[in-house]
Symmetry: C2
Subunit: 214 residues, 2 copies
Amino acid sequence: MRVVHPFVAMARKARPELPRKRRTAEEARTAILDSAEKLLAAEGPAGIRLQEVAADAGMSHPTILHHFGSREGLVEAVVARALESLHAQLLDAVRSSPQGTDQLTALLDGCYEALSSRGHGRTFLWLALSGYAPMMEELRVRALAEAVHVVRTEKRRGKKAQPTFEDTYFTVLLPALALLALSVTPPQNAEEAGAEKRFRAWLARMVHAHLEKG
Amino acid sequence: MRVVHPFVAMARKARPELPRKRRTAEEARTAILDSAEKLLAAEGPAGIRLQEVAADAGMSHPTILHHFGSREGLVEAVVARALESLHAQLLDAVRSSPQGTDQLTALLDGCYEALSSRGHGRTFLWLALSGYAPMMEELRVRALAEAVHVVRTEKRRGKKAQPTFEDTYFTVLLPALALLALSVTPPQNAEEAGAEKRFRAWLARMVHAHLEKG
DNA sequence: CCGCTCACTGACAATGATGTAGATAGTTCT
DNA sequence: AGAACTATCTACATCATTGTCAGTGAGCGG
């Protein structure tokens, strides 16, 4: 039934770049996930092919199946890790600077960085389109808006017109959607990058003005 | 070399639902494109499979190859037709109402309708992510912003502070990006639909206020 | 009625992707 | 050193998808 390979040694010699490396299971998993994540951001979940991931990670594709059970297992793992990483980066960006126009610009810059630097914004949109991630819930805009709303109402304690929560929610949602869409195609040159930066500053002024005036 | 099929007639009888239909070439092409466009909006360009398109259009997959030459040919045709249709619908929406807050709300509603009704927004994002369509150019935001800027400067003739074109551009770009991102996941129920409608009205007020004040 | 055109079909080839099986070779523990 | 463990490999099986081919039949002009 099984044809035993005759010339293993020869094949080995023919491709001297195959010194079977042995990593720890953890190292192997992260190497695989790193390679898969690149493909995920570039081509979406459908673009994750075992052979290609394996080639990029410097191993053969059955090794991936050994570590993740199946292609679906790999996809789930890389999706989970990417979303986790995105949320962590966004949280970092939000935690640093809460008040003032300049800080708001910095905040938007930070969020945009989180979305575009490692292709997480692209990944997120791929997932939303593919139905992997429930768009709005995953972006956790609501939670962020709640935090902002607390600060906002705090600041205008005593004023007569208190803003509604929905107003605050929309005010947070708007830049979130815009930055997400922008991150699909990162700027190709310095000029585009400059324009996008000015856009974020402009957007920050707009949002800030709206939050202040109520 | 070739095994001649022995029981064609029997096979025909076995599946009586196969009366070979003959359409005109035009009818066939549009039927195929209609089916392919559904798949394109749902799963992106990578989701266009000849067998599936053929099944949906009620024919065998070689017929598609007969009409479009190759899968790539089909994809190009359906992409071209979808973008054409999206631009036509957006143009329609923009042409109807140029001034005032209420009309601006209607305009945004119209644009959102164009993006979400037939999944054109999803299609567009699939294409942008896949690298088929150059995001910003394809949305033709610049051309729209130029038209808006003419009207805007016209209205404030004589005033001292004229808004820059970039300000107008950003003011058009912002709702464009937001609506596009929103169209990825159309509302699942009446409540979500209502919230999105209120968001568009809120956005229209914001944009209108900015355009008026300068 | 005849014959041509071409939309259409089933069968098959070719390619590429996932998954399986058994052997091989680092690592670590005793 | 020897044994156990397991990360890794090659080879193969299986399936889905695109594309080719030769033939079929509906409609139309003579």
